[in-house]
């Protein structure tokens, strides 16, 4: 399991009802079911991953964040997880709204566009930055809604979500020492991880 998935798992208590949006190969939901006794389900856009997950006995359905969350009833889950996907959805604000409608808590991770390397590249070369995290050119990237940690905090405030916990981590998911300062986290954190609840 990736280190950032481990961090997510640590936020989720035993027996919780969890929906992992973008469940990939099902690692997180499998872990939550086996070690925490969670009722963990997945939604995944890649059909091969879906088949692989179901073939492993995991409850995963083919679908995506933009189109499938709307069909769940209010409070269907305790936690709704969105890993490294927010920047690639069509309507991030609506996806967040749906996550916090169907779940009491939302756990969101996304790559931070405020990282100093990106800022520096744009400043010095005048071209769209490319890094190991942001590795596709502007004309073919699926990441149509990049944001910074401060952007995300601003949206949470505007829409009245409570930030219960947040972390800035490096690409390998290791917690970084600057996590107490938003300003530093926004400059040095490559990935951000938020635990939100309704206001």
């Amino acid at each position: 399991m990736r280190v950032d998935q481990q961090l997510i798992a640590e936020m989720i208590p035993a027996k919780a009802r969890v929906l992992d949006v973008g469940s990939g190969d099902g690692t997180l939901i499998d872990y939550l079911y086996r070690t925490r006794g969670c009722d963990a389900r997945g939604i995944e856009i890649d059909m091969q991953s879906v088949t692989q997950s179901v073939a492993h006995g995991l409850p995963v359905m083919h679908g995506d964040a933009d189109h499938d969350l709307a069909h769940y009833p209010d409070d269907a889950f305790d936690y709704v997880v969105l890993q490294r996907t927010l920047q690639a959805v069509e309507r991030p604000r609506e996806v967040l709204r749906q996550m916090l409608r169907i779940g009491r808590h939302a756990i969101i991770s996304f790559p931070n566009f405020g990282h100093w390397r990106l800022r520096l590249q744009l400043l010095t070369t005048g071209r769209m930055p490319m890094t190991s995290v942001w590795s596709t050119p502007w004309y073919s990237t699926p990441n149509i809604h990049p944001c910074t940690i401060r952007d995300f905090l601003a949206l949470c405030e505007e829409d009245g979500y409570v930030v219960q916990q947040w972390l800035a981590v490096d690409e390998d998911g290791l917690k970084a020492p600057w996590r107490r300062s938003i300003r530093f986290a926004n400059l040095f954190g490559e990935q951000a991880l938020f635990l939100l609840s309704r206001g």
Binding site: V54, G57, P59, M61, Y72
Partner: protein, 397 residues
């Protein structure tokens, strides 16, 4: 195709199925009472001491109970013998598998060929209209008779999937897991339209005799054959037809067709035509026209949402059943969009749902064919559900 074929006499088939006979019969949704009620069925594997490992497999429109053993009428392997058996995805080393012939069918369950107690004659076209609920109610009698309280799973493709959904809607506490494949929560207008053409082809046959063809020692073979030919097209896809037959012409066809009944213009057959004619002519040897009409009508009636003011999630509101919905990308008879509609309704109901659309160019029929992703999905879903149900592993049985 040959009109003089009589469906059951010529080969002297040896039936290997069992039959449950319920003297008191059962009431149908239409108000009629069918007595006695007979359900013909085959079973595979062993029922566990706890009676918790039973899987009911529901067959499609023209299927029957010969799931995993040679069919006595056709001599061909059971219709899902590649899926059900020892070590196969529906593993009979682990599960007790039951496959009943549907109510209204013609392979031993009560249907149009059965004797009507009131008249002492075969029902034929007077057989009362039945619904998917009636078909499932007859299966409930069988499951009761076998002493099984909760089925571990109900599995079915196409119309078999309609039965699986009806099982959960009508008896949610009796189904732990449901696996509806290549199916829909309602029969679409297009599918009703196809069924209607099938029925009209049967009615137009001079041997139809208002459904009393057996009194005349005849069967509406041409009409039923045409119905099957057309239906068969809907089970495939343009891609599958192109790949299998293309525009190839069958050279020897001219001699295979009786000259008198076929003008030369239609004498030289394309391979696809020859294939369909073969499908039609073999079908009429094993299937009864009145059964075909009865069961297609039951499919047409099927619409789970309509019974709940248009809310498809309502029938699943109280179920704890685990679902795995499977569709095929090239299935235009029961397209993925209808499965997705079902999945979203199940999500709304809070049900535990897996949903896989399998990439295949073989159309609706794909569920019966060699599709490795289907095998993996069925095996994985059943194993996962068995773990949640606390079923013993194979070794422990």
């Amino acid at each position: 195709m040959d009109r003089s074929v009589s469906p059951s006499v010529e080969e002297g088939p040896v039936y290997t199925h069992q039959t449950m006979c319920l003297e008191e019969g059962m009431a149908l949704e239409c108000g009629a009472h069918l007595a006695p009620l007979e359900v013909a069925y085959c079973t595979y594997g062993t029922l566990s001491a706890a009676r918790d490992n039973a899987i009911l497999v529901c067959h499609a429109l023209t299927g029957d109970q010969y799931l995993a053993e040679p069919n006595p009428l056709t001599g061909k392997p059971g219709w899902w013998s590649r899926m059900v058996g020892p070590g196969l995805p529906i593993d009979t080393d682990r599960f007790f598998v039951i496959c009943p012939n549907v109510l209204g069918g013609c392979m031993g369950s009560t249907g149009p060929r059965s004797i009507c107690a009131q008249t002492g004659k075969a029902w034929d076209s007077e057989f009362p209209p039945i619904t998917m609920h009636d078909i499932v109610a007859s299966q409930v009698r069988l499951v009761d008779y076998l002493g099984i309280n909760r089925l571990f799973a109900v599995v079915g493709g196409s119309m078999g999937g309609m039965q699986a959904l009806t099982w959960v809607a009508d008896y949610p506490e009796r189904v732990f897991a449901a696996l509806p494949i290549a199916t829909s929560p309602f029969h679409s207008a297009q599918n009703i339209a196809f069924n209607e053409v099938s029925r009209q082809a049967i009615f137009a046959d001079p041997h139809w005799h208002d459904g009393h063809y057996r009194d005349f020692g005849a069967i509406p073979a041409r009409g039923l054959g045409v119905a099957r030919m057309m239906a068969h097209i809907t089970y495939l896809s343009e891609e599958a037809l192109s790949r299998k037959f293309g525009r190839r012409v069958r050279k020897e066809a001219a001699t295979a067709v009786p000259a008198a009944s076929s003008p030369s213009l239609f004498g030289e057959m394309f391979e696809v035509e020859s294939y369909l004619r073969h499908q039609g002519s073999t079908f009429v040897r094993r299937f009864d026209a009145n059964s075909y009409l009865t069961i297609t009508r039951a499919m047409d009636y099927f619409d789970l949402a309509a019974e709940h003011d248009g809310d498809l999630s309502a029938p699943f509101g109280k179920c704890e059943t685990r679902f795995c919905v499977v569709s095929f990308s090239s299935d235009w008879l029961f397209p993925t969009s209808q499965s997705r509609l079902l999945v979203r309704a199940l999500n709304k109901a809070g049900a535990n749902v897996s949903f896989v659309e399998i990439e295949s160019d073989r159309g609706h029929d794909a569920f019966l064919l060699d599709e490795p992703d289907l095998d993996r999905t069925v095996r994985g879903f059943l194993n996962g559900a068995a773990e949640h149900a606390g079923l013993a592993k194979v070794e422990a049985l």
